[in-house]
Amino acid sequence: MMVSDKIKKIKVGTASCGIAAGADEVLELLRQYVGDITIEEVGCVGHCYAEPLVDVETVDGTVISFQHVPSTVAGVENVLGLGDRGRFTIPAGRRNKELHKVIGLAGKICPTSFEQYVENGGYDGLKKALSMIPQAVIDEVRKSGLRGRGGGGFPTGTKWGFMAAKQAEQKVLICNADEGDPGAFMDRSLMESVPHQLLEGMLIGAYATGATKLFIYCRAEYPLAIKHLSIAIDQIYEKRLNVIAGLELEIVIKEGAGAFVCGEETALIHSLEGKRGTPRFRPPFPTDSGWQDYPTMINNVETLANIPLIVREGGEMFASVGTEGSKGTKLFALAGDLRCPGLVEVPMGITLAEIVFDIGGANPAEVKAVQTGGPSGGCIPVDKFDTPVDYDSLKSLGAIMGSGGMIVIGKQRCMVETARYFLDFTHRESCGKCTFCRVGTKRMFETLERITAGEGVPEDLDFLEEMGNKVRSGSLCGLGQTAPNPVLVTLRYFRSEYESHVREKQCGALVCNALTDVLLDQEKCIKCKLCIKNCPVNAVSEDFVIDNTLCVRCDTCIEICPKKTIYRVKKGEGYYRGQN
């Protein structure tokens, strides 16, 4: 195989997103053919839509990137021969609108290399912090205006101040890495790509507040993140970086068992203590009484990963980015109906339109809404996309910033079905403690099931609204308090869709199975019989008519038809055996 002599070094993105796209196989093939050239595994740069990504550093110092590298000899040959195929450049929208700060090193360094992190300014923040008095560190964080990135948005400096003021024989710092929102992967990406950055933030936090016991509560579904963090912790122990002000800090990774509610801080503490993961009433807040009753501070991964930058560059520098109430940059996990899903880092205050259209590459004509804040956030309609993304603006729309999940919803989606889908998740994930959350969300979910099944009545909408508001105000923790959001917000912005479901028994988006039929357009049909062969219930007759009595709306025929002659139509417009 021809290997270009211009190649100096090769980097393969092997974070979870890369591996899922086949990066491991690509890496294996590259190793077979590169000879002496150094190959490095790096983390994720956020361009998930282009994985597997391979960066080639040339002898003249330029970097050539390849996207969608196939795990074939030909694919690898193209890279090693520096072929023209699959060259990757960052799209203009992304380049212009993004601001990489907290993920500045992600995808550029080897996550498990202590040296590479240090070479790139790593642990300078810790060094600087240790040269300051703890209060000065807290002041710097306070000056930065950093607010909790887990979703709550509580000012981090203030929380650190509370914690530092506590007198106790032991204080505990917990990094909340139980990233539970479906579609959110900011924290995973950070932990997989720059584990040391998180640990540096934790060590600074421990120094500033006097915490000596450090936990990382990470969901067990993140094995690579746990692996990288474990390696990084070993390196820290080896370098004795965990000895701060003469005290040896203990850093423990605790794997969560997968309960969404354990992202809530009091439930998380219960889980850490070996108890059932259920929240409790606050106050007392964890900073007063947390893990084993010790003062305990809980910060999110992204929050802590911002700390080294703040200390290194100064709080004012951090605060120079963003809006009045929301400073710095924010990570978002973009997913859904758009061209370029992936991880993005943007300055606070950027508009939704910029994120969804410019960065995400979604077509404005095809977007209906965006769901921010995960399953308990809200769907913001496209006509509100000029809203700046910050804690307060999103809240005023009935949505939440949340931890940073952002799901783009295309015009082809049904909002009632979308709300049902999100509530399906939250009602199952309720810990079962509070009546309103356990039973109220279930009854709301059942109502949505009825509506999407065409059995809704107009009174159901009043019930959803009333019960939604009661679940909001009658639940202990954030899960219950936000679970009704998808329903309440879609009822606010997309009420007409609900109305047509319950009054006309129609689903405008032709999504709800019970409210649609499937029709084969005989005129365009080329009689290839693929539909007949693949229909699991034999609903397509030999003369190419789909019997909607038999059809289970699985869409197999629609997807398989080479001429797109089969599609969904309104209920009643399809053929039913014994009629027409």
Binding site: V261, R428, E429, G432, K433, T435, R438, K442, R443, G474
Partner: protein
């Protein structure tokens, strides 16, 4: 530390540091309901029934866990707060599965505590059985014989076979102890009540008035008291000697009867109203219905015919060939009486099919056995006399769409007319109230009382058939009790008015499968139902002897073993029930899936019915924090959250001595098996 001053329901109050709003409310005599709060354990904050509102922030707080902050204004009694509490309760009720009260008790029109008296019988204590029956049913000997057994129709045992023979407990208990048992009677007050009509409703009114310390005089138009019990129901179903025994007890407890006194003739409502503290009108339905066909005057009226035979001590001439038109209980009584008088040919004519007959199934069956011929889907169109006989022209019918009564409407088949001949044609087409002019009547002729209170006007109440239309003895008794209590309230100023009682039900047996049944005892009998003890058929057809014997104690104790004891073990002290009733929360308000999480009766003395659990977690914490055993834990999450033991093991035998969790369970999810 300083006290915390805040406002609770507009009142300035103060809290010690660490006190919750609920603590302060308790000290301030403000009642805040809670299910999950328990002094013995750490806070659970689960039920949210204790919510209060922080007026300034607009937030709802669980008062069991929220400590007041200085200057806070807490609202615990506004409609908004109550509405929130009601919704919390209704959500809990919507997932709560059980039977507050047994279906038999709910089904009984008199709401006799059926499960309880069957249990007393099962244990062989038939005196106790009778005592419980008589709390609601003062005529147990009669009803023990003639009741159509509403209770048995809803008995859960129907899921796996035949219902428990409930009514036979009543009959046996009454036969054994009715004459000797004397209920406690309070001293009489100085007011008296006049009761017009000595049938079931009037007798019940008199009885329950006496049990509440009020004497009465019962007037009746007939020579002897008893009403339809004496002059309608034939001797072979209810021997009059039995009725006399029953009525003797009424005399014994001081109830006076004045017979052969008829309202409107020799009895004036106006005078009764003046002379007595209150008047109860229980005159029944004695006006026969019409056949509405030509020559109908040639037919005799069923109730009048039976009355005549009753007055003649159940003797009479052979009526020859008999036709009875109608399909109700009176029709059956006429048919079977005709058989006993020696008629060689007894025919029932009914315009629909047997399935639509209003008569009790057992009556129809026994009529068949005794030789009655049924001519179904046939209606009379005319009667005429020919050669000393009566000729009835009939027409065949076919069933069409259901009518207002839900039964399919019979439509005549054109050209299907034919003639039949008989010596006696009896019309048994239903009965109406014969109200006097001074009694306000509905358009159907029934007395027009307030449907809630059965109050008519001034000091006059009415109940029984004359209010409801012809019904059963037990319904008449239920109505009598209702106005008795109304009259007690009217005369003494007491307040018997029933408060809103809720009942959670696992559902009608017809919607259940065997796996849905909950066995409180492990040894519930699966034997088949006890058989009725009939006298020989030949004797039945030729004499007026009672058709069945009372079953023996031995049989009935065994029958009692079949009872599932459906009602909730905690029905007397269920907090969910009592608070729901206080807040007007209804089990039907919010409907949705209920988790069939099963029950565990493996422990010798404890039953855990997870379907009743409201997931408050008190039992888990009591066992862990107070008893230090940690035998229970909450499992799973979301709607299917449940409380269970490690690996689903049974509770250990040592729990027999403890039961601390049982004492604290706010519902009946954990309980002793013994009722």
């Amino acid at each position: 530390m300083d006290k915390i001053n805040f406002i609770l329901d507009g009142k300035a109050v103060s809290a010690q540091p660490g006190q919750t709003i609920l603590d302060v409310a308790k000290n301030s005599d403000i009642s805040i309901p809670t299910l999950c709060h328990n002094q013995k354990i750490s806070r659970t904050t689960s039920c949210f029934v204790c919510v209060v509102k922080d007026v300034k922030s607009g937030r709802f707080l669980p008062s069991c866990s929220a400590c007041p902050v200085p200057g806070q204004e807490i609202d615990s009694s506004s409609d908004e707060v109550k509405n929130m509490r009601r919704t919390a309760l209704e959500l809990l009720l919507s997932e709560h599965t059980g039977d507050c009260e047994a279906p038999c008790t709910i089904a009984c029109p008199a709401h006799a505590r059926v499960e309880e008296y069957v249990r007393a019988g099962r244990k062989g204590d038939f005196l106790e059985c009778l005592k419980i029956v008589k709390e609601r049913i003062p005529l147990p000997m009669s009803i023990g014989r003639v009741c159509p057994r509403f209770c048995e129709k809803d008995c859960r045992k129907n899921v796996t076979g035949e219902p428990v023979a409930i009514n036979d407990f009543k009959r046996l208990a009454a036969d054994l102890y009715y004459e000797t048992y004397l209920e406690e009677l309070p001293p009489l007050i100085d007011k008296q009540v006049a009761i017009v009509g000595a049938g079931p409703a009037g007798l019940a009114t008199a009885y329950f008035l006496r049990r509440n310390g009020i004497a009465s005089v019962v007037y009746d138009q007939m020579p002897q008291p008893g009403g339809m019990l004496r002059y309608g129901i034939p001797e072979y179903r209810l021997p009059k000697a039995i009725l006399d025994k029953e009525l003797a007890h009424f005399n014994k407890i001081g109830i006076k009867f004045e017979c052969s006194r008829k309202l409107g003739a020799d009895l004036s409502l106006k005078e009764l109203k003046q002379k007595f503290g209150a008047v109860a009108v229980t005159i029944g339905c004695w006006q026969p219905g019409s056949m509405r066909c030509e020559g109908e005057e040639l037919a005799v009226q069923g109730i009048e015919w039976l009355e005549k035979i009753a007055l003649n001590n159940w003797q009479g001439e052979n009526p020859g060939r008999v036709i009875v038109v109608g399909g109700g209980n009176t029709a059956m009584d006429c048919l079977r009486t005709a058989i006993r008088l020696g008629s060689p040919d007894v025919n029932c004519f009914y315009r629909r099919t047997e399935a639509e007959m209003p008569a009790e199934g057992i009556e129809i069956q026994e009529a068949h056995e005794e030789g009655v011929k049924f001519n179904l889907l046939t209606a009379p169109v005319g009667l005429r006399r020919e050669n000393g006989h009566i000729v009835m022209t009939c027409q065949k019918m076919e069933l069409g769409e259901p009518d207002a009564s839900g039964r399919r409407r019979p439509n005549p088949v054109p050209g299907s007319e034919y003639d039949v001949e008989a010596d006696l044609v009896i019309a048994a087409i239903g009965q109406k109230t014969r109200a006097t002019a001074d009694l306000r009547a509905t358009k159907w002729g029934d007395i027009d009382v307030d449907q809630e209170t059965y109050h008519l006007e001034d000091n006059v109440f009415a109940a029984g058939d004359c209010v409801t239309g012809a019904a059963t003895v037990v319904e008449g008794v239920a109505g009598g009790r209702k106005i008795a209590l109304g009259i007690v309230d009217f005369l003494t100023g007491s307040k018997h008015q029933q408060e809103k009682v809720i009942n959670v039900s696992r559902g009608h047996w017809s919607s259940l499968v065997p796996d849905d049944l909950v066995y409180l005892r492990n040894d519930v009998s699966h034997e088949s139902r006890v058989k009725m003890d009939f006298i020989p058929l030949a004797e039945r057809c030729s004499t007026f002897s009672e058709v069945t014997h009372t079953l023996s104690e031995e049989f009935m104790r065994k029958e009692g073993e079949r009872c599932l004891e459906c009602s909730c073990t905690a029905k007397a002290d269920c907090k969910l029930k009592s608070i729901s009733e206080e807040y007007g929360a209804s089990p039907e308000a919010i409907v949705g899936e209920k988790v069939k999480s099963g029950y565990d009766n493996r422990h010798p003395t404890i039953i855990r019915d997870r379907m009743k659990c409201i997931k408050c977690g008190i039992c888990v914490k009591i066992c862990k924090e107070v008893i230090n055993r940690n035998l229970l834990s909450q499992k799973q999450r979301g709607f299917v959250t449940s409380v269970g033991t490690a690996f689903g093991e049974p509770l250990p035998d040592s729990c027999r001595e403890c039961g601390a969790c049982i004492e604290e369970c706010p519902v009946g999810a954990l309980d002793w098996k013994i009722k």
